[in-house]
């Protein structure tokens, strides 16, 4: 549905977005994750045709955004970071304007009513946008993006400024929209991305540093915990001893940390506690534990690891 190929945007010498390529299938919800200034909004602005790319192409359902902008843009509903609201209009007047602007060919009143119901702003329909709280303004922006039922929805930080119950509501909405629409949405709230998206794209310094299905990126969701160990001794015996402990799922040797010592990561069931068993097993095996840390590998860890500058410069993808 969305095809992004070798997309690059330069501002002078600075590469804001550096040769990004990805595709999004119909009905997929793609999460865009990255620290501030990573190039998320720039990429979204290029996908929606607000700014043009220095090089590379964006194809929406077969229409290239710069070659055939009218066709491509008519397939996109876009909620920018700051909702583009005319604050001196009432909600209904504004939505009517956006409806006309987009040239939507649906029964006007019914469609606007339906969209307002969907984002729950029906009771604010005749209020002037200026007088609405940030959460409601965000929803009006959301409503605007949904007008005309575009097959592609691009949402730039749609839950910023909402209170927790509204966030849950909007997440549910995005999830339900994902059944009919192709959605790209960005956020810096990791739990939000993992709860909503099918796939996550981590972007840092204008480059994609990770692109994976949500459940593959995170061990949290698979119901496992991890224990990282530094143990002295031959790795084959250590690995087999560790694997003998019940409720251990997987042991992976990370790297040698010194002569005859190495770091291991042990994944095990979430509700078990294997620290004593590991101690006893290693003691029996006469391979002393030099260091032991327990904890979940969270998306936050992943995120920090992926976006730390060392990692990016190391060129790992």
């Amino acid at each position: 549905m969305i095809e992004v190929a070798n997309l690059t945007k330069c501002y002078g010498d600075i590469k804001a977005v550096d040769n990004i390529s990805f595709t999004v299938e119909t009905g997929e919800i793609l999460g865009f994750l990255g620290p501030n200034g990573a190039g998320k909004s720039t990429t979204m602005n290029m996908i929606t045709g607000y700014i043009s790319s220095t090089s590379g192409t964006v194809t929406i359902d077969g229409s290239e955004i710069l070659e055939d902008p009218k066709n491509a843009k008519s397939k996109i509903g876009y909620l920018p970071e700051i909702p583009p609201l005319y604050i001196d209009m009432t909600v209904r007047k504004y939505l009517e304007f956006m409806f006309d602007l987009k040239g939507v060919k649906l029964p006007k009143k019914e469609h606007i009513d339906e969209v307002m119901r969907l984002v729950r702003i029906t009771d604010k329909a005749d209020r002037i946008i200026k007088n609405l709280s940030k959460g409601y303004r965000q929803r009006v922006g959301f409503a605007q993006a949904l007008l005309g039922n575009p097959p592609v929805l691009i949402l730039d930080e749609p839950t910023v400024g909402l209170d927790p119950s509204q966030i849950i509501e909007i997440r549910k909405l995005i999830k339900s929209l994902g059944k009919k629409h192709t959605v790209i949405f960005s956020s810096h709230v990791l739990s939000e991305i993992s709860a909503t998206c099918d796939r996550i794209l981590v972007i840092n310094e204008g480059k994609i540093v990770a692109d994976a299905k949500t459940d593959q990126l995170s061990v949290v969701n698979s119901g496992q915990q991890k224990l990282s160990l530094v143990v002295e001794g031959t790795s084959s015996s250590i690995t087999s001893e560790l694997n003998n402990i019940p409720s251990v799922k997987k042991v992976s040797k990370q790297q040698d940390t010194g002569e005859n010592t190495a770091k291991y990561i042990v994944f095990y069931d979430q509700d078990a506690d294997i620290r004593r068993e590991v101690f006893n097993a290693m003691a029996r095996n006469n391979t002393p534990i030099l260091d032991m840390q327990s904890g979940n590998e969270t998306l936050e860890d992943m995120f920090l690891k992926l976006t730390s500058s060392n990692y990016a410069k190391g060129g790992k993808r």
Binding site: Y11, N45, T48, G49, Y50, I51, S52, P69, K70, N71, K73, S74, I76, Y78, P80, I82, P84, L85, Y86, I87, D88, M89, K93, F97, M98, D100, L101, K102, G103, Q144
Partner: protein
Amino acid sequence: MGAILKRELSAYFNSAIAYVVMAVYFFFAGLYFYFYCFESNTTSLTGVFNNMIYIILFLVPIITMKSFAEEKRQKTDQALLTAPVNLTEIVMGKFLGAYILYAICSVIFLVFAVVISFFAAPSWSVILCTFIGVLLFGAALIAINIFISVLTESMIVAAIFGMAVGFVILMMSTFTSVIPFEWLSAALEKINFITYYVNFSYGLLNITDIVFFLSFAALFIFFTVRVLEKRRWS
């Protein structure tokens, strides 16, 4: 384009701008009408027209200052530029919105002519000709000011810059007379709005004058589109 035009008009008429502009315009038009027609007992509106130029040059920047400057500041240009409409349609919508407000103001001249006709027969051909001149002059001026508005993010800057340009237009003859380079003063005289406008107020309908104002309007609408286009690429 229709949607943008409709919104522009509702923005003008749902805020104080349209009413303030109309009030100032009508006040000065009425004042000049009183001085030039009633005090000096004439049916000629030429004096009124010629003096209204000053007011128009200062009011048009007020009408257009919001058009793009405010969109950019409020980030609403994102909605326009990502909607399936092309840039020319956006600019034309903005232009026509401002132009319709300007035209509504200008209708006061026809009202004056009707008022005069109760006392003595006015020269309708001269009045209509001047009215056409006002409309054409306004088209060029609004296009220039919309172009100024697209260059900045601040309404105030747009308004002040627009007024400065208006002042230059007004003083063009004075400038050209003191420029020592003959080729430059001759060239500037060729784009002196006032010389073209004056012909209308004498009742002359020259094709040159009409083409001059229309091409000026078209040129600056084109420039505005190019600025919007260029911004996306830089």
